[in-house]
C-alpha cells in the first residue's frame, strides 16, 4: 500500500492529482490519501481528510512507500523507520504554502537514500515507477546530534549556562 499525506494545515492538490493519475494506470498498487481540507476528490485512491494520530501512524507503518509534501513530521518518521519516501515541496508561487521553506527543507534531506525529492508530476511518475529503497532506521541511541541536544537541555534544567561552541 502507498500512503500519501499532506499534513494538517493545507491541501496539496497538485501532488494528489498527479498521484491519482498514476494510480489510475496502476490498479495493482492501492493508494490511501490523507488530503487535509480539500475539495479535490481522487478517482483511483481511497482518501480521508484527516486521520487521528494513531491512524496516521498505522497507515505509515503499513505502507511500503510514502508520498508527501516536504513536512518535518513525515520526514522524521520516514527516517526513524527507514521507510521509502517520495516528497514534493510546496511552492508559494502556486499558493501551496506561505513561503518556500519546503524547498530548503527538501534540499537538506536530499542526501538520505530512502528519500527522493520530486518537483513536478513527471518526476513524481518516474519516482513511483522506480521508488527509493528502504534503509535501516537512522534514528538510534547512537544519534550524536540528538544526544548532544538532549545533553544541553538537561544541563539547562540542572541550572547550567548554555553557550555557543
Amino acid at each position: 500500500m502507498i500512503f500519501a499525506t499532506v499534513g494538517t494545515q493545507l491541501p496539496f492538490e497538485r501532488l494528489m492529482r498527479a498521484l491519482d493519475d498514476w494510480a489510475g494506470m496502476h490498479p495493482e498498487r492501492p493508494v490511501v490519501m490523507q488530503l487535509s481540507d480539500s475539495d479535490y476528490r481522487p478517482r483511483h485512491c481511497q482518501f480521508v481528510a484527516y486521520t487521528r494520530p494513531a491512524e496516521w501512524e498505522q497507515y505509515f507503518n503499513e505502507a511500503d512507500l510514502v508520498v508527501s509534501h516536504a513536512g518535518m513530521g513525515t520526514i522524521l518518521k520516514s527516517l526513524e523507520l527507514g521507510k521509502p519516501l517520495i516528497m514534493m515541496p510546496r511552492l508559494a508561487a502556486l499558493g501551496e504554502h506561505r513561503n518556500d521553506h519546503q524547498m530548503a527543507t527538501s534540499a537538506r534531506f536530499d542526501g538520505y537514500s530512502n528519500i527522493r525529492i520530486v518537483n513536478d508530476s513527471i518526476e513524481l511518475t518516474a519516482a513511483l515507477n522506480d521508488p527509493p529503497a528502504a534503509t535501516l532506521p537512522v534514528d538510534s541511541k547512537e544519534n550524536v546530534n540528538l544526544n548532544a541536544l538532549i545533553g544541553a537541555l538537561k544541563q539547562f534544567v540542572d541550572g547550567g549556562v548554555i553557550k555557543n561552541g
Binding site: G7, T8, Q9, R52, P53, A54, G71, M72, G73, T74, I75, L76, K77, L79, R98, H101, A104, T105, A107, R108, V138, D139, N143, V144, N145, L146, N147, A148, L149, I150, G151, A152, L153, K154, F156, V157, I162, K163, N164
Partner: protein, 153 residues
C-alpha cells in the same frame, strides 16, 4: 498529594513535525513532572500517563483563532504554574513561552529543524522570552543567539 518539590515542565508543540521533534527531546525532562500541550486530543494516548491539554492551532491569517489560542494558553500556564516551559513551535509554543516567562518560569525554545534557511517567524519573535534560545542548524547560530547545541537528527 502532589509532591511540592518536584518541578513542573510544560512541553508545548502543535501537532505534526513540531510535535514529533518535541517528543524526541522529552527524555531531557524525565526528572520533572511533565505536562503536554498540543493541538490534537488524539495525542494523549501517546503520552499517557502524562497529561495533555489541547489548544486550537492558529496562524497569522486568522486573528480570532490567534486570540483564542492566546487566552487558552494563558489559562493553562496560569493553572499549572510550570517551573519550566519548552517548545519546538509554532504559535502555541510562542504564547506558552511568553506567558511562562511573565509568570516566572524558565523557558526553552528549540526552533524546528524544518527552518534550515532562517529561524521560524515565531522562533524569531520569541527571543526576548526565551532563557535558552536554540536553533538546530549550526550555520544559523550567532554570537548573541540563537545557540546551536545539536539537532533531533
Amino acid at each position: 498529594m502532589v509532591d511540592a518539590r518536584r518541578r513542573k515542565v510544560l512541553l508545548v508543540a502543535s501537532h505534526g513535525g513540531h510535535w514529533v521533534q518535541l517528543r524526541r527531546l522529552a527524555p531531557a525532562f524525565d526528572a520533572l513532572d511533565v505536562h503536554y500541550v498540543s493541538t490534537n486530543p488524539g495525542l494523549l494516548a501517546e503520552v499517557t500517563p502524562a497529561l495533555l491539554s489541547v489548544v486550537p492551532d492558529a496562524n497569522l491569517r486568522n486573528k480570532m483563532a490567534m486570540l483564542e489560542l492566546a487566552f487558552r494558553m494563558l489559562g493553562i500556564v496560569f493553572r499549572h504554574r510550570p517551573d519550566l516551559v519548552v517548545s519546538t513551535g509554532a504559535a502555541p509554543g510562542f504564547f506558552a513561552l511568553v506567558f511562562g516567562k511573565l509568570l516566572g518560569a524558565r523557558t526553552i525554545w528549540v526552533d524546528s529543524i524544518a527552518n534550515a534557511e532562517r529561524l521560524s517567524l515565531s522562533g524569531a519573535k520569541v527571543k526576548p522570552f526565551a532563557d535558552l534560545w536554540l536553533t538546530q542548524w549550526p550555520h544559523l547560530a550567532k554570537a548573541n543567539g540563537p545557540i546551536f547545541k545539536g539537532a533531533v537528527l
